[in-house]
């Protein structure tokens, strides 16, 4: 038997592990909570530029939409990871014994806001509660609208359902409606030809994390390395999306949602950056996706005050786990990307 | 015999339908007051058309029709169809009430006439029954009761016994003769049965197939009441033979 030289051994190992890593790419499904939009950009980026693949993940993104409710798919085992709009959903899950947990918080600020016509006095937040008509969508009616009623004096008399059609709002100057600060204002400007007044709920006490990643507690217990890889790759995807070349990601999103235009996506990204939705506060120190227990507790306390929960309904320890974030993932990459004038291909 | 009875007459009447079909061609006939006349002929010879013209339910294309229904004497004419044509949602009593009710008579006002008529036709025990619960013969009695409750001057009957069995048919025929003798209305009776026309009527008009014309007329002078003896007599058989022959000729 010929002596196996180190080079040969190394080569064999490379082949074997290379083979193994190709065969071992974990198939993972990730469901979002809306049709593809810039607010999902980082995830599409990680698929498009191969970041997930490099972390041994074969990720399929399932879109949500106006009449789609992906939430029950997670506890039912049909998807592996779920994008959730705010922590209220997570509180509800824990309260009802649904075994899911939050593993990362991509948005440091919730873009949920109220938009209004200019020149109607709605430039002041205090006047919004007196609007005769407020268009609020179904799932909001049962969550943060309740908080608005208790904490800020909004009334059910003005509530009208928002069916994701801008028409009623555009035609009634005295009306207000809900909107994603990085989305609706752009559409309003395009269709209504005016710049709406935008009030972020986050600026008035709605301090929840947003676009959090949820998964089953079972997955965290049995395959923590899978969760870690998904979280890390997603964080990197967001870094690349915000600070690097995002054209492939945009193209992927427009394939999923053909009604979205490039201009709308870029305008939305600009807003995400200027409003510090994704990367501000904690994430500047410990990386995108960061979470702090104190903030979760504080938000929960406010919701109890608003009457959405009774004290003791929710076991806060089960809401989120911090083991996968706060590890400064992506900070180096971000520094590298923001130094150069030209967007470069992502480093290995 | 009623001296003031209005006349019942067809004078050179033709009826052409919108489809171009000529149902009747230049037909003339007269019915004397209180007379029992049969119209005998095959299907499609216009017998029903004559009845409908006399009832005012149809309009002649040419010629002149005289009948009580056309003179504004509405209640003077009654019609009995081949189907009993009862209102299925109403009781026998309510069905017989219909002509009186349409003329404005209330329940209590009309009750005596209705009760009397129901007894007369033998349906007194079934006054609260629904048509669905009656036999074919009983339904036809109810239909005749409805027709006679207004004491009409002219009764028009369109093959009324054709759908009934032999026994019921002969019993109803005998009863019809009695009712006719009592009320003395004029009666135009359409049938395709030679035996029925011969046994019941005083005069038989034989008609040819489309376009309808009256091709033969036969008086039957046998007095009323007619009995089974008449049916067995050679005279009856001769009448039938003559009628059958003229029917065949008319084809």
């Amino acid at each position: 038997m010929p002596r196996l030289s180190p080079a040969l051994i190394a080569g064999l190992l490379c082949v074997v592990t290379g083979f193994a890593s190709v065969r071992a790419a974990d198939k993972v499904s990730f469901a979002t909570n809306w049709k593809a939009q810039a607010a999902h950009g980082g995830f599409y980026q990680a698929v498009a530029d191969g970041t997930y693949a490099r972390y041994g993940l074969d990720v399929t993104i399932l879109q949500g939409g106006p009449s789609v409710n992906n939430r029950p798919l997670l506890p039912a085992g049909r998807i592996d990871f779920l994008m959730t709009g705010n922590l209220l959903h997570s509180f509800d899950n824990v309260k009802n014994g649904v075994p899911t947990v939050v593993v990362a918080a991509i948005f440091q600020k919730d873009p949920q806001s109220l938009v209004a016509h200019p020149g109607q006095g709605y430039e002041r937040w205090e006047n919004l509660r007196n609007a005769p008509v407020a268009f609020i969508a179904k799932d909001a009616q049962f969550s943060w609208w309740q908080w608005l009623k208790v904490t800020h004096g909004f009334r059910d008399e003005s509530l009208k359902p928002y069916n994701y059609n801008l028409g009623p709002f555009l035609s009634n100057a005295r009306s207000i409606q809900q909107g994603y600060a990085v989305a609706e204002p752009i559409y309003v400007e395009n269709q209504g030809k005016f710049k709406p007044v935008v009030h972020l709920l986050a600026d008035h006490g709605f301090s929840t994390y947003s676009t959090v990643i949820e998964t089953r507690t079972e997955t965290v217990a049995k395959r923590p390395e899978l969760v870690q890889r998904f979280v890390d790759a997603s964080i990197l995807g967001w870094v690349h999306y915000l600070y690097g070349d995002r054209r492939l990601a945009n193209a992927a999103m427009r394939r999923d949602n053909p009604e979205m235009t490039e201009a709308e996506i870029e305008a939305s990204v600009a807003l995400m950056k200027s409003q510090g939705i994704v990367d501000s506060g904690e994430s500047l120190e410990t990386g995108i996706g960061s979470m702090r227990d104190a903030r979760i507790r504080d938000f929960h306390a406010q919701m109890v005050k608003a009457g959405l929960y009774k004290a003791g309904d929710v076991d806060l320890a089960k809401v989120a786990t911090l083991q996968f974030v706060n590890r400064k993932v992506g900070l180096e990459e971000k520094a590298r990307l923001t130094q150069g004038a030209m967007p470069k291909a992502p480093a290995k | 015999m009623n001296p003031a009875a209005p006349s019942v007459k067809l004078d050179h009447v033709s009826r052409r339908f919108a489809s171009g079909l000529l149902a009747l061609e230049a037909t003339s006939l007269t019915v004397a007051p209180g007379e029992f006349v049969s119209l005998l002929g095959p299907s499609g010879c216009g017998k029903s058309t004559i009845l409908r013209l006399l009832a005012g339910l149809d309009i002649a294309s040419s010629g002149c029709v005289e009948a009580p229904a056309l003179d504004g004497h509405g209640a003077d004419t009654a019609f009995v169809f081949q189907e009993p044509t009862l209102m299925p949602w109403a009781t026998v009593w309510q069905n017989v009430w219909l002509p009186l009710r349409l003329a404005g008579q209330g329940r209590s006002q009309a009750a005596p006439a209705i009760d009397a008529m129901l007894s007369h036709v033998g349906l007194a025990d079934f006054r609260n029954a629904y048509p669905a619960q009656l036999s074919g013969g009983m339904k036809m009695r109810a239909s005749i009761a409805r027709a006679l409750v207004t004491r009409p001057r002219l009764l028009l009957m369109d093959e009324p016994f054709a759908a009934l069995d032999e026994v019921t048919r002969s019993r109803l025929g005998a009863d019809l003769l009695n009712w006719w003798a009592e009320q003395q209305f004029s009666l135009v009776f359409v049938t395709h049965s030679v035996f029925e026309a011969a046994y019941l009527s005083q005069r038989v008009l034989v008609m040819s197939p489309r376009p309808g014309r009256i091709v033969h007329e036969l008086r039957i002078d046998e007095p009323s009441p007619r009995t089974t003896d008449f049916r067995l007599s050679p005279r009856y058989q001769a009448i039938c033979r003559e009628l059958s022959a003229s029917l065949e000729q008319a084809q």
Binding site: N69, R71, P72, P75, A76, H89, D92, N93, N96, G97, V98, K138, D139, Q141, F142, S143, W145, K149, D156, E157, L159, K160, P161, N163, N165, G167, P168 | R52, A55, G56, L57, A69, G74, A75, T77, A78, F79, F81, E83, T85, M87, P88, W89, A90, L98, P99, R101, L102, A103, Y130, P131, A132
Partner: protein, 258 residues
């Protein structure tokens, strides 16, 4: 079938067997509450939330029965108009058909844009779903009058009102009732569908909103409890109209003869 007792026993027994099977399945397979709650859990949840669910039930019932009455009135009046004026039918029947086949889930948001009051919008949506069977059946019934009876009424010089009261209305009744039975169920479906799309939270809300609310907040047993009330309503409507049909037609119409 045999005795009436057995007739009533069989469907009840089947239902109970299904419920029992459901309970056993959930317990044996340890299916979690938030995926599929057991019937006993649904019952306890229903009991615990009875006051608020009952209020929503009442609202849904009001919309359903309100829409049904309007569908009756509208369907019958329009059928009568069509029967009297055939030109009207030629002109408007396509409109009625279009209303019928367009799914109410698609129309409801539009209606809500144009109509201020939510209750009125809900009634309208449920009405659209429910009126067509009554219209088409009643129209058929008005046309199905015995032609000989029609001749008889002409012969006796009946006035139009007499014709309507004594001939047309009774003739059309079995057909109308057939349409009514269909529309009973449809008005419930229409009311629920309309509210799912168009209803608002907070103020008067019906069972559909409660189902949505429970669904969004992952309170699955409560969702099923509200659903159970809806099913019960549908059953009651069905049985109610069965009884009505038997009462009105039992003595004389073929459809009710055994």
């Amino acid at each position: 079938m045999k005795q009436p007792f057995l007739r009533r026993l069989l469907p009840a027994a089947t239902l109970l067997a299904l419920l029992a099977g459901w309970e056993v399945l959930v317990r044996v397979a340890q299916v979690p509450d938030y995926t599929l709650p057991a019937p006993t859990r649904i019952a306890t949840t229903l009991w615990a939330n009875l006051p608020s669910l009952a209020a929503s039930w009442w609202f849904t019932l009001k919309i359903t029965l309100g829409a049904l009455s309007l569908a009756c009135a509208g369907g019958v009046l329009i059928a009568a108009a069509f029967a009297l004026v055939p030109a009207l039918e030629l002109a408007l029947l396509p409109v009625a058909i279009i209303l019928q086949v367009t799914p109410v889930v698609a129309i409801a948001p539009l209606i809500l844009i144009y109509i201020e009051s939510t209750t009125a919008a809900l009634l309208l949506c449920a009405w659209i779903v429910a009126f067509f069977p009554i219209l088409s059946n009643t129209l058929a019934g008005l046309r199905a009058t015995d032609p000989n009876l029609r001749d008889l009424f002409r012969l006796y010089r009946a006035t139009p009102l007499q014709r309507l009261r004594l001939l047309l209305a009774p003739s059309a009744l079995p057909y109308f009732i057939a349409g009514l039975r269909i529309s009973g169920g449809l008005s419930l479906i229409g009311a629920v569908t309309a509210e799912m799309v168009a209803g608002a939270a907070g103020r008067e809300t019906g069972l559909a909103s409660r189902i949505l609310e429970a669904s969004f907040r992952t309170e699955t047993p409560k969702m099923f409890a509200a659903l159970a009330l809806l099913v019960l309503t549908g059953l009651l409507i069905y049985l109610g109209f069965n009884l009505l049909s038997r009462r009105l037609l039992g003595r004389w119409h073929a459809s009710e003869q055994r």
